[in-house]
């Protein structure tokens, strides 16, 4: 057991192989479930390509697992603002995802102006800004500007939600 855990340590990339395998399995399962009578006008049918894709995914999953167990690893992506010297900072990512999910949950009910404010303000907070008032003002004005910009400029009416009638 201990040898297994020590072998798995630092091999989080096996999760990618697992995901590829799961995706491949899903595509395969879905393709098997399709019912199609053979037709002369479409000899390939809707199943062939899913089978190929599922095969590709499953082969990649197995090969990636072998590659990772042999010590291979993918190269993490750099960038202007990316500092790879410290490990992933989940204290930033999770609140950020939280702000995003909050927006998804309330957008239809509360409307874009409120949910967009929540999204921007929450994201800025998650990313480490602590100017609460200034951030709040920027969030509200961005949401209002985009709401009216989309409505007047592009003719797209974003949901007004709770503020229906006021906006």
């Amino acid at each position: 057991m201990t040898s297994l855990t020590s072998r798995l340590k630092g091999r989080s990339e096996l999760g990618v192989a697992l995901l590829l395998g799961a995706a491949g399995g899903l595509v395969l399962w879905d393709a098997v479930g399709l019912v199609t009578p053979y037709s002369k006008s479409d000899p390939v049918g809707p199943k062939t390509v899913p089978y190929i894709v599922a095969g590709l995914l499953l082969v990649c999953a197995v090969m990636l697992a072998i590659n990772v167990l042999r010590g291979g690893h993918g190269e993490t992506e750099g960038g202007e603002d990316v500092d790879l010297s410290h490990p992933a900072d989940w204290k930033t990512v999770l609140p950020l995802a939280g702000a995003f999910i909050a927006n998804v949950l309330i957008i239809d009910w509360a409307g874009w102006v409120i949910s967009g404010t929540v999204l921007f303000w929450g994201s800025v907070w998650a990313l480490g800004s602590r100017h609460y008032v200034r951030d709040g003002l920027i969030s509200v004005s961005l949401s209002l500007l985009t709401f009216y910009g989309f409505y007047l400029g592009l003719g797209i009416s974003l949901p007004a939600g709770l503020l229906e009638g006021i906006l």
């Binding site: 995706a23 595509v27 899913p50 990649c60 190269e75 993490t76 900072d89």
Partner: protein
């Protein structure tokens, strides 16, 4: 109609006051967003796609032309002033460009980049205008088997040639093809991978996929590794060049253009290889070899020209064959389809005025880029100081807005988050993004051609190689796939053979941990060396 008169008609369309305004907006937006760290041209186009849905196609594409070149140019400004290129195509520019900026020659570096981009972009666009109709003439005679082969080639070439690990490239391609399968099968109407969810039966909106992978994935990824110490930004005034700089720049511009255009037009072209080749060429030909590594203007002029010429070259297969070869072109192709415009060789026939207006506005956008960007450079440099929380919160905000405004469904935002998490994971584990995007966009079209081919041959697989062009392309595909083995065999027979560019400073610092899934170096010019350069460039930044 010949090329010249069609092009003049294009100019007439593009130069109407409203369309000209869209071109200006496109160039300014493209440069502004391209300068912002973390935002490349592909993401810029993806984020702005929804906004252009309400415009009529011609205006939208005129705007895209501006965004395209603007975004390309913006990236080079960032790499010169920050030394941490956001895109692989501006990695090479950063090598000499940042050294020049540190030596107090930022103004000259920006000027040679801007003017070089203009020269290369103009020549490249002219070549596009000449070449594309020729390619079309050749392409209209091709049938489904050849198209199927060409698309397979494009998918495999991008997956196998670019990037450091072929295995991870194919994994990414598989995911993209799977995403492309979601929805109703176009021939039989069977629902595939929809899990009984009616909202999925139309398939995933390509805008949502692109925004999720490029913007949301990137924002989450940067958030996890946000650099807490601010980067040192080199202040810059108005760009200008002295007589000596002109003398040293004009030849590298032209050589860069010659290298950039054909590589951009190839199925696995992209700008990485030509910018790199241009750098090596200039280093060999220069009369000032002692300056290389310390800020030689040739090392900025050549690669920047190559970069922009490749950008123009990329549009040749995109417009003539409907074949995108880089991420930006892939997103633009998605825009075509969302307007109900069928990409492919019929495009010049069916949408002639639109295509020529697009090409004309590429010329205009290129010119505007020069006129607008030389005076605005100090302002762009200020944009680099935007506080990072606002920048990345803003990316998420506009990504959400863009994805939501397509269908006004909260469901799309769920997909945005799920695929954003996928984009995050891909960045973490080094899965390249481009094969996924191309898989999503080309996947359904490849399937369509495959079915059409076998329909014509009544199910006989021999129909796949019934055209000589198709056979030729399969040979190329086989060579690409077998390349690592061929290279290994060649190396064994000539053990002393070294890569041609051993002179690059980066290769001597090759990362020993790096393992390649494909075994041998998949391609002599793959961006392994560029990646190493990028890593060392980022590493250098840490020093006080």
């Amino acid at each position: 109609m010949d090329v010249f008169s069609s092009l003049m008609d294009g100019f007439a369309t593009a130069l109407t006051p409203m369309n000209f305004l869209y071109a200006v907006i496109g160039v300014v937006l493209g440069t502004a967003v391209g300068v912002l760290p973390g935002l490349g041209p592909a993401m810029t186009v993806a984020l702005l796609l929804p906004v252009t849905y309400v415009l009529e196609p011609t205006s939208a594409f005129i705007m895209f032309a501006g965004i395209y070149y603007g975004g390309m140019y913006g990236g080079s400004t960032t790499s010169i002033l920050l030394n941490t290129p956001g895109e692989s195509s501006s990695v090479v520019t950063a090598i000499e460009g940042n050294k020049m900026a540190k030596a107090g020659r930022a103004a000259q570096a920006l000027a040679t980049a801007a003017i070089g981009s203009f020269v290369a972009g103009t020549i490249g666009t002219a070549l596009l205008a000449v070449c594309a109709p020729i390619v079309v003439k050749f392409a209209v005679s091709l049938g489904s088997p050849s198209y199927f082969a060409i698309m397979v080639l494009a998918l495999l070439a991008v997956t196998a040639v670019l990037g450091s690990s072929r295995l991870r490239g194919f994994a990414s391609l598989g995911l993209g093809l799977a995403i492309g399968l979601v929805g109703m099968d176009s021939v039989t109407g069977q629902a595939r991978l929809t899990f009984g969810q009616p909202l999925l039966s139309d398939g995933l909106d390509i805008v949502v996929v692109a925004v999720a992978i490029f913007a949301v994935g990137e924002a989450l990824w940067v958030a996890a590794h946000l650099r807490r110490t601010p980067l040192h930004i080199i202040p810059v005034g108005q760009p200008w060049m002295g007589k000596e700089d002109w003398k040293r720049s004009w030849k590298p511009w032209l050589r860069g253009t010659v290298l950039g255009f054909p590589f951009g037009a190839l199925p696995a072209g992209g700008a990485e290889i030509p910018t790199f080749l241009s750098y090596v060429t200039e280093k060999r030909l220069t009369k000032h070899p002692e300056e290389f590594g310390k800020g030689a203007i040739e090392g900025v002029a050549g690669p920047e020209a190559a970069n922009n010429a490749a950008a123009a070259g990329t549009l040749t297969p995109m417009l003539a064959l409907g074949l995108p070869t880089n991420a930006t072109a892939a997103v633009m192709l998605a825009a075509f389809t969302s307007y109900g415009i069928q990409p492919g060789p019929q495009l010049f026939e069916s949408e002639g005025p639109l295509v020529w207006a697009l090409i004309a506005s590429l010329f205009i956008g290129n010119f505007l880029l020069l006129v607008i960007n030389l005076p605005l450079a100090p302002l762009w440099a200020k944009l680099l100081q935007l506080p990072r929380p606002y920048l990345y919160a803003g990316i998420l905000f506009f990504a959400t807005l863009g994805a939501y405004s397509v269908n006004l469904q909260a469901f799309d935002l769920v997909i945005l988050l799920v695929l954003g998490a996928l984009g995050f994971m891909m960045r973490r584990f080094g899965l390249p993004v481009l094969p996924l995007i191309l898989g999503v966009i080309l996947g359904p079209r490849v399937e369509g051609q495959l079915r059409k081919t076998l329909q014509l041959s009544a199910g006989d697989p021999a129909g796949l190689w019934s055209e000589p062009i198709a056979v030729g392309i399969y040979v190329i595909v086989a060579i690409i796939l077998a390349w690592p083995l061929l290279l290994k065999a060649w190396r064994r027979s000539r053990p002393q053979a070294e890569p041609a560019f051993a002179g690059m400073p980066a290769t001597s610092e090759a990362d020993p941990d790096r393992t390649d899934a494909g075994g041998a170096n998949p391609h002599p010019f793959d961006d392994r060396d560029l990646d190493t350069t990028r890593n060392t460039a980022a590493g250098r930044q840490e020093r006080p």
